[in-house]
Amino acid sequence: MLQSIVLSGLAIGSVYALIGVAYNVMYSASRVFSFTAGTLGMIGGILGSLFILRMGLPIWLGFVLALAGGALFGVVTEILAVRPVLKSLDQHLYVLSTLALALMTQQFAAIEWSTEPQPFPRIFDLPRGGFDQTFWLPMLACVVTIVGLELLYRHTLVGHAFLAIAEDNYAARALGLPERNLRIASFAIAGAIGALAGFAGGQLLLAFFANAPLLTFYGFVPVALGGMGNNRGAVAAGLILGLFQQAANFLVGGIFASVAVFAAFIFVLLAFPDGLAGPSTQRRV
């Protein structure tokens, strides 16, 4: 039982963590909580299944195209749902604009793809076993993403520019940084990360249009618990969420498992309003 809780919990927790990171990457660049993050996960799963199973493309090409599709959707999100409302952030219009885009995309997927979950391909031709690729692929994707983002942010000039925009975009602009282009790039990166979550977790969640609202919610929980804009906090909270959810599935089961997750979420937020890891940046007053 413990092995099952750990394997399933860490696998699904990794998917939540990656969606949380996608939220954060978009938030850092724009101060906008884009509710298209779960939709990116749905896109990764559906495009992976479409390219590899339906169109018969090689797995590597299907993977690259699925991530490219996610990145493209990220850019479209920035142009259609984020840029027009940036000037009135205090009115929180982005909630409506990003939710609307997410819902439209989900409905489009339901009509054009299927309302039924569709199979997702096996990525590696390995025999099924206890520590199956269904479980380790999302974990691997999570590790690679975190290491990649750390390298990007800490060891490249572009990464420093991203951090500058996240810290203070007025000052960054005054220094001559191309704020809009960096924001578009951030949304493209977030799109690819979200699609990676859906692709890596495809064998677990299948290629299903209804994964979008599921991941939008469960991906938001790590952000809220880990602290907004805090990637390390999101990953830790995502993994804890996955483990807690799976433990609740074993211990109480049925719909009570979901109730346990929501109850814990509300309790933690009441106790730590800034998230378990606290806010990512200190505001000067």
């Binding site: 699904i12 039924e116 569709q118 299948l206 299903f208 089961g253 049925g254």
Partner: protein
């Protein structure tokens, strides 16, 4: 030329008589309008698309054979798009704009729920194949008839199969958290207990949960000898089947027809996991112990093949119920007349009408026309041309 008063009166009378005689002649040639509310598009359209193949074939046959006493059938079709609102709009248009004699449909329960009271209010006879129990009530909706099974019949057949045929007394019964799933479990648990089963595990599970191992392990720990899942969600059902397979737990799974759908099959990790899975189906459209369809159904399938109607991507019972319905309507109009009260009076005395999908009977107090004995269980992994083998334990027809 002058005309006497008598001549004028005679001419006028003759003209009136002539027009009086001519009118029914025209009426007899005018088509009989039948309203039809299939879901041909949208998320629940697979049923409607299958049913539509049978409906179109039957109407074409009837019209080719001269129609109903010389009057052609005109099908006034409105696609509900799997949307209850669109179904209501379609029904309103059929009753107000077209004055149809009778309505067939909707073909999904969700759409039928708002349409049944609407047609009852408009005094239009209605025939539908939807399963939700409340959708045919001779007292509440005296013009509404059901030519399909009720949920009670579906659950009853599965329960009897598990307890009486498979001799499994310890049962785990689960559903997703939809209205259909929870209502089914709540209805079927007392039915199971009534026939002597011991419900050792009962749960409503979030269908989005990607890992159902905890549920299956709990069923195993409770000593379940059979799993009965009630859901139309292929993802949920396939996860139950896959987890049973992974745990190499050799218990039968009996339940909703979706267990045998192509969508469920596509999500199975291994084809062999589909063994010992028994979904509901209907005896007249199943392969018997001899591997053959009943004679009447065989002739029907030959007709479908001759008409090049595809059966591989749908279910035979969908096509069959669609095919039977225009014939049920034509039979009522031919024998009693196209008026609402005559159609209803005819159906109220219908006894064992021999359709392809089943033998239908109605009485003034019972508008659920599908017989219990024809609701059966089948082997999920035997699907061929839209039909299944009867599950082990059933005798011949």
């Amino acid at each position: 030329m002058s005309m006497t008063r008598r001549q004028a009166l005679t001419s006028a009378s003759a003209a009136v008589l002539a027009s009086g005689i001519a009118k029914p002649a025209i009426a007899q040639k005018s088509p009989i309008q039948i309203g039809y509310l299939p879901a041909l598009t949208g998320p629940s359209s697979s049923t409607g698309v299958g049913i539509n193949r049978g409906v179109q074939m039957a109407v074409e046959e009837i019209n080719k054979a001269g129609g109903i006493d010389g009057r052609q059938i005109e099908l006034i079709s409105r696609d509900t798009q799997s949307d209850p609102t669109k179904a209501v709009n379609g029904a309103a248009e059929l009753t107000r704009g077209h004055k149809v004699s009778v309505v067939f449909g909707p073909v999904n329960s969700g759409e039928a729920i708002p349409v049944v009271p609407l047609l009852a209010k408009a005094n239009i006879p209605q025939l539908h194949p939807c399963w939700v129990d409340q959708l045919a009530d001779a007292k509440k909706y005296p013009l509404c008839f059901r030519n399909g099974p009720t949920n009670q019949q579906i659950g009853g057949a599965a329960n009897r199969y598990v307890v009486d045929v498979l001799k499994k007394k310890k049962v785990a019964i689960v559903s997703d958290t939809t209205g259909y799933g929870t209502a089914s479990v709540n209805a079927y648990v007392p039915m199971l207990k009534q026939i002597g089963a011991d419900v050792v595990y009962q749960a409503h599970v979030d269908a989005a949960n990607p890992d159902l191992k905890p549920e299956i392990l709990r069923m195993q720990a409770a000593g379940a000898e059979a799993i009965m899942p009630w859901s139309v969600n292929a993802g949920f059902l396939s996860r139950i089947i896959n987890t049973r397979g992974q745990l190499a737990w050799d218990v039968p799974i009996c339940g909703q027809t979706t267990l045998g759908s192509g969508q469920t099959k596509a999500l199975l990790e291994k084809p062999e996991y589909w063994a010992k899975v028994y979904p509901n189906n209907f005896r007249p459209v199943c392969y018997g112990p001899d591997g053959k369809l009943p004679e009447r159904t065989r002739a029907f399938v030959d007709k479908l093949r001759a008409a090049k109607i595809d059966m591989s991507d749908t279910l035979l019972w969908w096509i069959a119920v669609g095919y039977d319905t225009p014939y049920l309507i034509a039979d009522a109009i031919k024998n009693s007349g196209p008026e609402a009260e005559k159609i209803v009076a005819h159906w109220n005395t219908l006894k064992d009408y021999p359709g392809i999908y089943g033998e239908y009977s109605f009485t003034p107090d019972e508008h659920n026309g599908y017989p219990d004995r024809q609701v059966v269980m089948v082997e999920a992994n035997s699907l061929k041309d839209g039909a299944f083998n009867l599950a082990p334990g059933y005798g011949g027809a």
